[in-house]
């Protein structure tokens, strides 16, 4: 079957514009498919990361945490926020029925001034009780986080000397964490002693004391709760909300469910857009192939008269379609690659949802699937025209043309 292939190559070389439009359409197919799948997978991975990082059954924050800089903002978008509940309220939470374990977190925002390396969210946690941050840190750092050490999120730039300055003091960066796709990638973590020291330094350094009226030694920004086995999480949540007036408890499942709903909505919109684009492109491809095959009736008739079998003509059309589709699909994929990776930060902030780029293996799978589907669409749409042409009698093809 050398002749059909070489003829197909010659046809494309001699009439590139004839095939360019088809190539463009297939390019569009692979582009949209990869981009859509890439975005959806990134959001799904982001949600997984978010779920894993939350690690608690209930999250309690002070009422003042509502609005800008809320826990959601910190977790999802990396927006900095500081709010505190008193140690008395924390004790009440600990003593609520159904609470098995609690872990306090203390939030602090570094200043955008000479005293600090950069403005980031600093999260203090209790290594003895923590079940949320520590498992994640242990993925990249197995040692204990000592006093004066910090661990930074994946998006925080790591200085060469591994030292970061907060409120006039330098801290050693013990480790950098893996990407989660959440706002935590832009945060700095330290144990409670270190963060409280930073808070005290901030209190004495800053003109307006952000901790006025706050007992730094006992206050907390968030309390993560693990409930006793078998107890109803929503009952415990309601109990806290009813009896401790200055705090707001949310079940982690509800928080994830909100995000999950948002993600599902965005995924559906992306999926629908990709489907509409595909439908349109496939219909146009069908029409283009049909018009093109019709225009080439005489060419096929001449080949038949010379002795080409209908299978040979079919193979010529198939070879052309494969080459044109592969070219379009590869170019579309490369464009989609470039756009997906370069726009991932913009997409993340636009969507306001957890967003974690797929790993190399997943990118390879998505690329392969996009290529195969786009090329298949190109081939299948040409198949109908090819079948119609090869099913016609040669003399009739020739006669209708002349």
């Amino acid at each position: 079957m050398i002749f059909p292939f070489s003829l197909a190559v010659r046809n494309i070389k001699r009439k590139p514009f004839r095939f360019m439009f088809m190539s463009l359409l297939v390019m569009f197919l692979s582009f949209t498919l990869f981009f859509g799948a890439f975005t959806i997978v990134s959001m799904q991975r982001g949600l997984e990361g978010y779920r894993a990082r939350l690690g608690a059954d209930i999250v309690v924050v002070p009422n003042s945490a509502k609005g800008h800089g809320s826990l959601d903002d910190i977790l999802l978008q990396g927006i900095t926020g500081t709010y505190y509940m008193s140690g008395k309220d924390v004790d009440k939470i600990i003593n609520t029925d159904g609470v098995q374990a609690v872990s306090r977190q203390f939030f602090l925002t570094s200043a955008k001034a000479s005293c600090c390396s950069s403005r980031v969210q600093i999260i203090g946690f209790e290594p003895e009780t923590d079940f949320s941050v520590q498992p994640w840190i242990s993925e990249s750092y197995s040692e204990k986080i000592g006093d004066g050490d910090v661990v930074i999120g994946a998006n925080v730039s790591l200085p060469d000397d591994k030292l970061l300055k907060f409120y006039g003091k330098t801290y050693y960066v013990a480790a950098q964490l893996g990407q989660t796709g959440t706002g935590l990638d832009s945060a700095v973590f330290a144990n409670m002693n270190t963060v409280r020291q930073m808070a005290q330094d901030a209190s004495s350094l800053l003109d307006s004391d952000p901790f006025k009226g706050v007992d730094i030694s006992s206050a907390a920004s968030a309390v993560l709760i693990k409930t006793e086995e078998g107890c109803n999480i929503s009952d415990v949540t309601d109990d806290i909300n009813i009896h401790i007036t200055k705090v707001s408890a949310s079940s982690a499942r509800a928080m994830i469910s909100d995000i999950s709903e948002g993600l599902s909505g965005v995924s559906k919109v992306i999926g629908a857009l990709v489907a509409v684009i595909w439908l349109l492109a496939v219909v146009i491809l069908l029409v283009v192939f049909a018009l093109l095959s019709n225009e080439r009736r005489k060419e096929f008739a001449v080949l038949r008269i010379m002795g080409a079998s209908s299978r040979m003509i079919f193979t010529v059309l198939l070879c052309e379609s494969i080459m044109v589709s592969v070219l379009g699909a590869v170019v579309g994929l490369l464009c989609s690659f470039a756009l997906s990776f370069s726009l991932s930060d913009t997409l993340k902030s636009m969507l306001g949802l957890p967003f974690l780029l797929p790993d190399a293996g997943m990118v390879a799978v998505l690329s392969f699937a996009s290529l195969v589907l786009a090329v298949s669409a190109g081939i299948v749409t040409s198949f109908f025209s090819a079948r119609k042409i090869t099913g016609s009698e040669t003399a009739l093809l020739l006669r209708e043309d002349t």
Binding site: F3, R10, R14, A301, M306, G307, A308, S309, L398
Partner: protein, 225 residues
């Protein structure tokens, strides 16, 4: 190699007041004899092209059979019929039939490379192009040729596999007198070497080359020796 048509006819569908079909060719018998030139004449629309299309294996008869050395070519599979057509029947259809993505030489060589073959026909292709006086145009693309040059190219292409049966539909339509003589002389030579040649024409010059003249009239073939 002998080509014989037995009782072939061809019916086409057409919306008309009294009938929705008509016979372009009525039941016809025809032998193409080895070493002879048969000339087929007739008015436009008389069914000449339909008849030779059936003989060339590119239009299935409504009834009857076309036998090539005793084998009904329409009973062969499409692939086998195509191979038979490629190797044994040189068909020169009406009109301009160049493949535009190929050069003149590649056009002529195309039937020889369609199916696996041991021999390289490039030298013979040049001989044919030379005989047709277009060898100097062998490297240009067929869409750059004039009507007469295209005609000569398709004649050379039909002869590249040295077919035993040659069927030509108005082969000299676009040619000047000199080239017409050249082409008809070549057909005479091929017939003298044993080929069966069938020429459809409107031109009286061709009749002087004929061993036998057939006339088509309203789908009915009349043979006069």
């Amino acid at each position: 190699m002998k080509l014989t048509a037995k009782g072939i006819s061809r019916r086409f569908f057409r919306n008309a007041r009294n009938s929705n079909y008509f016979y372009a060719v009525e039941k016809t018998d025809l032998d193409l004899e080895e070493g002879k030139i048969t000339v087929l004449i007739g008015r436009s629309g008389s069914g000449k092209t339909t008849l030779i299309n059936m003989l060339a294996g590119v239009l299935t008869p409504t009834e009857g059979s076309v036998m090539l050395d005793g084998q009904d070519i329409y009973k062969l599979s499409d692939t086998d019929r195509s191979i038979t057509r490629c190797r044994h029947i040189g068909y020169i259809p009406q009109g301009q039939t160049g493949l535009q993505s190929l050069t003149v030489l590649e056009n002529v060589l195309a039937p020889s490379v369609m199916y696996p073959s041991n021999s390289d026909q490039t030298k013979y292709a040049h001989e044919l192009l030379n005989a047709m006086r277009i060898d100097d145009l062998s490297d240009i693309y067929s869409n750059e040729l004039s009507g007469g040059e295209l005609r000569r190219m398709s004649i050379a292409r039909a002869l590249i596999n040295s077919p035993e049966i040659i069927i030509a539909d108005e082969p000299t339509a676009d040619l000047d007198n000199d080239t017409t003589s050249l082409v008809l002389g070549l057909f005479r030579q091929l017939a003298d070497n044993g080929a069966s040649v069938l020429i459809v024409t409107h031109e009286s010059d061709v009749l002087s080359y004929a061993d036998r003249v057939c006339k088509m009239d309203k789908g009915i073939l009349k043979i006069s020796d």
